[in-house]
Amino acid sequence: MAGGTVGIVLVSHSREVADSAAALAVALAGAGPDTPVAAAGGTPDGGLGTSSELIAGAAAAVDRGAGVAVLVDLGSAVLTVKALLAEGDELPPDTRLVDAPFLEGAIAAVVTASAGGGLDAVEAAASEAYGYRKV
């Protein structure tokens, strides 16, 4: 777990949602262009759904050796990441499905990762976003 920044993967049923959430998180975090954040939204042909290939590709692309935090939206996104994790060898070592609200969690995760936090700190920050009440 030496060096490297924790990688963040954002999995949504929609390519636009995942891409936009990633762009927003990077911008709000004031993170640099080299912050390892990748979006895996929709199916490879651009339709709505979840793609294990896009997820595995995104996770490999952001892996800097410090672990990868995966944030997901709903249903098949959750189940596909869990199924990939159960397989054991399809995602980088130290890949973790983080239980967090998608957008708020993504921002907290990117802020924490770009500040040098480890995988545990990234997970804690993202999960804490559930505690922020809006009303």
């Binding site: 199916t43 339709g47 979840t50 793609s51 294990s52 098949s76 189940l79 199924a83 990939l84 397989e87």
Partner: protein, 201 residues
């Protein structure tokens, strides 16, 4: 004894049934889901038959593991990881034996269904595929004679989901409105068991 050829026959027959019933599955899913269950499973099982034709794995376990991986990577909806996990876990339980007994298959399939329940955090009565799969598991026994009983139990289990209120998956957002419709996942699971019974030579 059941060999790799039996399991290939099972999955090919499932693909054919899914093809035939895709419109009905999608219709069921349009009532309480997002109307893609038939098309999603069709895409997944088409990939399964293509992969099996190309790779021709020579043990029951390898056939099921290959098929499960295809479903997870090709489906795009929740049925992919769920059916993928069912087949892959069952395949892994069978190990690398060249042939398995019906009893060994029954035990492995039970482990596969258990893995599906864990993955989805669901149980029988939640109006999911488990409502067809669990009665099938209970019916499977030490001889292939029980496969037809399992088929009937799964079909009955699927029909029994009609009055249930969904507690898992997208249909659960509908609350009371999910009542009165057969669960599409239970219906497709019944097809899987129909194909299993039909694969017995």
């Amino acid at each position: 004894m059941l060999d790799a050829e039996f399991f290939r026959r099972w999955l090919t027959a499932t693909a054919a049934l899914v093809d035939r019933e895709a419109a009905r599955l999608t219709e069921l899913d349009s009532a309480i889901g997002d109307a893609d269950h038939g098309a999603n499973l069709q895409r997944g099982f088409t990939a399964v038959t293509e992969a099996l034709a190309k790779d021709a794995p020579d043990t029951p376990g390898a056939v099921l593991v290959l098929a499960g991986g295809q479903l997870i990577s090709k489906v795009g909806g929740a049925s992919g990881p769920l059916y993928g996990t069912l087949l892959r876990r069952t395949g892994k339980e069978l190990g690398d034996a060249a042939e398995v007994t019906p009893g060994q298959f029954a035990a492995a399939f039970a482990a596969g269904v258990e893995a599906v329940a864990r993955l989805g955090g669901a149980q029988a009565g939640d109006k999911t595929m488990l409502d067809a799969l669990e009665p099938a598991v209970a019916a499977l026994g030490a001889s292939t004679d029980t496969f037809a009983t399992a088929r009937d139990a799964a079909g009955q289990g699927a029909r029994d989901t009609v009055p249930l209120r969904a507690r898992k998956g997208r249909a659960s957002y509908l609350g009371e409105r999910s009542i009165g419709h057969e669960d599409p996942g239970a219906a497709s699971s019944a097809l899987l068991l129909t194909a299993l019974a039909g694969a017995v030579a």
